[in-house]
């Protein structure tokens, strides 16, 4: 893009990215909140909805104050390839007029701008919604046993010390994985693998819930409404990541829908074959796995690639959740690790296989004659996995030694709704 002349702002692109930002917001609340909320026991549903909802509030504030600067701002020195600096603190220099700096003059510097036809502030609010949903996804792994106060502390630290650096590494102009050529169109590595592996770290740190090791599934219709809203919002997530309302957004929209549909079918088929009957929760989980897997690939693959990605992701995630998890015995309450890490990993690697230049000149995979891309993708996955796993464990340790991470046994038994929020979700009489 460096050789093209400075593009002008495009009102169509701005409108699409702003609308996409709102779509991605709907993924967290109510989409993910209901998807997770339906899967917990009745006594914990408010705590689940509250954490997703407050994630939206807390991260929105953190993001404009410092998060966007750390994730997407220019880095400095050696540290610059890992995390941004403070140049964009309080959105200083984040212009609503131009893709670049805070001046009304149209400037275009491809080394510090994101999306040449929308102002930097549009990109900022779009990315804000990604930063919101990532820590919200992690909640699924430690659901039903964490104190609300501990969750607040964990989320603040995790956003600043895990999400922002990982987003910087993959997406910012000076990020290390970006320089390696890791392809991640809409956040398979940054959002889904990242949240999934963090979820595993928290689940291992906390240990199992008392007296149960499976989702409570107190309201399956909630799960279906949540999954459908995720599917709906995900068009903003993936097609919006084109940062333009053009052919690339169109292609991303189409492959997103295709992979999701394929994954819903194949999860239901897995259940039909291995456990007798297809279930609604299974079909919904499959759709979410498909959305996760197509995310990094959505701007790089054609419809053939998306079918492979979709049909296969559910097989991998189903095996993870149905066979591997029970064997290993960790309590990943709502399978944030099983679905988002497994699906994100497959999506990231599959991008290295199925990316074609015909869709996006910036990426081609193994089947398009670029054999090295698969290894590049694997390298990116490894760095994110190791970094996030270790730093998440450190954050758990810090929160545990200061606030105390886990709810007391009495509180866990009584339910987090009454003990953490003094409020129950459903009346009993009347």
């Amino acid at each position: 893009m460096g050789t093209t002349p400075a593009p002008q702002l495009n009102n169509g692109d701005i409108a699409w990215v702003l609308a996409s930002s709102a779509l991605v917001l709907a993924m967290t609340a109510p989409g993910l909140a209901l998807f997770y909320g339906g899967m917990v026991r009745r006594k914990n549903v408010n705590s689940m909805l509250m954490q997703c909802f407050m994630c939206l509030a807390i991260v929105s504030v953190l993001w404009v104050v410092i998060g966007y600067s750390l994730a997407f701002g220019p880095g400095h020195g050696w540290l610059g390839q890992w995390v941004g600096g403070f140049d964009w603190f309080m959105l200083h220099n984040v212009s609503m007029y131009t893709p670049d700096h805070w001046t009304p003059d149209p400037k275009w510097d491809p080394t510090t701008s994101y999306g040449g036809t929308v102002p930097n502030q549009v990109y900022m609010i779009f990315q804000c919604m990604f930063a919101v949903i990532t820590p919200a996804l992690v909640i699924g792994s430690f659901a039903e046993r964490v104190k609300f106060s501990a969750w607040v502390g964990f989320t603040v630290l995790w956003l600043l010390f895990v999400y922002c650096p990982v987003a910087h590494m993959v997406w910012s102009h000076d990020g290390i994985e970006n320089h390696w050529g890791v392809l991640d169109f809409a956040g398979g590595t940054v959002v889904h693998m990242n949240a999934g592996i963090a979820g595993l770290a928290t689940a291992l740190y906390l240990g199992k819930r008392l007296g149960t090791n499976k989702p409570g599934m107190h309201n399956v219709p909630f799960v279906m409404i949540g999954a459908s809203l995720l599917w709906f919002g995900w068009f903003g997530f993936n097609a919006g990541s084109a940062i333009s309302a053009g052919p690339l957004a169109t292609s991303a929209f189409v492959v997103t829908n295709t992979a999701t549909a394929a994954a819903a079918i194949s999860w239901a088929a897995c259940e039909w074959i291995f456990s007798g009957k297809p279930t609604l929760v299974g079909a919904c989980s499959g759709a979410v796995a498909g959305l996760v897997a197509i995310t990094p690939a959505s701007g790089f693959v054609d419809v053939g690639g998306s079918l492979w990605i979709g049909f296969l992701v559910s097989v991998f995630c189903y095996c993870m959740v149905a066979f591997v998890k029970p064997k290993l015995g960790y309590d990943d309450t709502l399978d944030a690790f099983g679905v988002h890490y497994t699906g994100g990993l497959w999506g990231a690697l599959a991008t290295g296989l199925f990316a074609v230049k015909a869709v996006n000149a910036n990426g081609s995979g193994v089947f398009d004659g670029n054999a090295g891309q698969f290894l590049t993708q694997a390298k990116g996955c490894a760095v994110t996995t190791i970094y996030t796993f270790i730093v998440t464990l450190i954050i758990c340790f810090i929160i545990d030694k200061t606030i105390g991470m886990r709810a007391s046994a009495e509180d866990e038994v009584m339910g987090l709704d009454l003990t953490q929020h003094h409020e129950r979700a459903y009346t009993i009489l009347d």
């Binding site: 007296g211 009495e410 038994v413 003990t419 003094h422 409020e423 129950r424």
Partner: protein
């Protein structure tokens, strides 16, 4: 014939069921109920206004048994439900004058098992 009624903590239901099956008591009916004994309710808040004395969710189990099974049933329920803390619940044992199996018309001890 006796009717054993037990009120236990909801999260102990699974343990109680396992203990009952282990004692070869396989037929139970379970109700969701609300109430409180000495463990008075919990505080709830609605937009900052405190409401006290709310009823707590409990589980009520009913089991009709022949005389030989009364003690094993009681023991199994206690084993499954006891934590030693207030709120563990109570067991009531009532005389049961008649029992009829609808499918066959059998009466009495035969109809219970």
């Amino acid at each position: 014939m006796k009717l054993v009624i037990a009120i236990v903590q909801p999260y102990k239901l699974e343990d109680v069921k396992q203990e009952l099956y282990a004692a070869n008591v396989n037929l139970i009916t379970v109700f969701e109920v609300v109430g409180h004994g000495r463990q008075v309710g919990v505080d709830e808040y609605y937009r900052g206004v405190k409401e006290t004395g709310n009823l707590l969710r409990k589980v009520q189990i009913e089991i009709a048994v022949n005389e030989d099974f009364v003690e094993p049933t009681i023991k199994a329920i206690i084993k499954g439900a006891r934590t030693g803390k207030i709120g563990d619940g109570k067991i009531f044992v009532l005389d049961l004058p008649r029992c009829i199996r609808i499918r066959t018309g059998e009466e009495g001890s035969k109809a219970i098992g």
